[in-house]
Symmetry: C2
Subunit: 351 residues, 2 copies
Amino acid sequence: MSADSVSSCPVPHVPKDTVLLGHGGGGRLMQQLLEGLILPAFRNPALDRRHDGAVVEFGGERVAFTTDSYVVHPLFFPGGDIGRLAVHGTLNDLAMCGAKPRYLSAGLIIEEGLPMADLGRIVESMRQAAAAAGVSLVTGDTKVVDRGKGDGLFINTAGLGVVPPGVDVGPDRLRAGDVIILNGDIGRHGMAIMAQREGLAFESTIVSDTADLSGLVAATVAAGVDMHCLRDCTRGGLGASLIELAETAGLHIRLREAAVPVVEPVRGACEILGLDPLYVANEGRCVLMVPPHEVAPALAAWRAHPEGRGACVIGEVGDPRRGGGGVTVESQIGTERLLDLFSGEQLPRIC
Amino acid sequence: MSADSVSSCPVPHVPKDTVLLGHGGGGRLMQQLLEGLILPAFRNPALDRRHDGAVVEFGGERVAFTTDSYVVHPLFFPGGDIGRLAVHGTLNDLAMCGAKPRYLSAGLIIEEGLPMADLGRIVESMRQAAAAAGVSLVTGDTKVVDRGKGDGLFINTAGLGVVPPGVDVGPDRLRAGDVIILNGDIGRHGMAIMAQREGLAFESTIVSDTADLSGLVAATVAAGVDMHCLRDCTRGGLGASLIELAETAGLHIRLREAAVPVVEPVRGACEILGLDPLYVANEGRCVLMVPPHEVAPALAAWRAHPEGRGACVIGEVGDPRRGGGGVTVESQIGTERLLDLFSGEQLPRIC
């Protein structure tokens, strides 16, 4: 596993005057770009909460609002395509706010020359994914850019959902003692894209885990579980998600590596490519943090749901021996290491 | 003026199997793409209303929701930049729903190699434009694509606004007899971009009209004017806006060309380039349709507002001699012609 070398690797000396691919990678460079240039311009309580979406109020209802652009390459991959991803990703960002998704927008930026049949397949994927989740795509926009000025298709989706009364989910609710639950094995989405892009053939095809997690969250709400925080493990993988949460909350997180499921084809592919599954992107995996007395009902609710069958406890929030906001990984053989954001991009353009 | 040749020009025989630049141009090709491929996948009442945004309900409040991607080239132009445009454009789409803008999202797709200073200037433009309108940018996303797979920067903004009680604005409220008011001279944005892009030097620099129109709409609401419909005159210009409205409402529109203000530098540049100002994009111009008894208060409200100083009556809805949903232009010398959507793209990537 390469996590040791990743975690001990300082941010390299990079030119500071242009944007690099790594600035979009979910790692330290991206954090620097956001915190140094973008977030300071727009300071407000919703943005400062550093969550997957903002929660605003209309008519006394709490409405989650979120956006994501999708630039995945290639457009089609085992288990999905950019359209399915663009719908699932935004549904999931709403779900991570505890919200029930209601409405989506879609903005397409098409490169001249995209086969109309590909566009048709992708739009149909979006339709199916939205219909399956019971949400309506209510507004959209289409732009076309010159050949060579895009990459087939980029999709932005924004979403609106309603946070049910009593639900309050966010990094500011994390408490020492909270238990971390993961909904299944990690690394499949990133490795599916990687294998497709590089033409790698492994023994068995790795299929992306892309999935709508809003039903899983709704089931947890229905079970009356007091969710403290939710976070999907997309760019930067489970590792980046936990590090961001620890830093935002200012609390230490302890992760037990042996408890994190990785299926054999993903583990094998990661070993061949020198990647750490902890940093590989997922599109249907999330972590839930709950107080100890909610672990049993949360696990029961998740394991009864198709997207939570593989649910397991993988760690805890708050190590009494440590202050601050880091993540410690307890390895399979009992040693400990500090997990750090990798500098730039482990796998570019996986979402 | 080239409108006659444009209006009599049938849709050329184009390859139907790939996306063309013209599919993004606000003309007939784009209409075909939307109606043939995209809209049928997502049919729902909000989308079918064919307005600048959807109006949905939360907690009994009517919330306008809209999105637009911005791919303007070049990123900086006289009077603005892509960031200012991306904020104004979405504010305006909300305003065209009669809504008071509240929240924005921003999704940046950055091409590797974009100078950090350019990104900083653009983010600062967005900040200023949002602050001036009193809206908060509450959620966002940043992606980076490889060099040669983008064009510097694309920005998507989505927006949320509240439709005040009693306000109901949309093509379905158009009635025969409604009077059409325009808020100022047309064609400046498109010609400013064109001159910048092509390095054309005219006698005086043409400055984009990009502006936030939400204050103008709020002033109209405050004046108690019963607005039937609003539409900004962006891609495809005033011509495309009126044609779309006429077709959506199934009502004829009559436009008096002599009443449409065009400043001399824009008229001159259009003549040199063989363009019709009616089809040139604006980013701070809109039309308002009101019943005849509301014309005087509407004009008074608009002329008292900085963005409506040039307000004038330019035509009427519903010609008793004609059925259906076309637009007739009465020329300066009294002749009439039918206005048609141009086929593809008069000026690509102006927004």
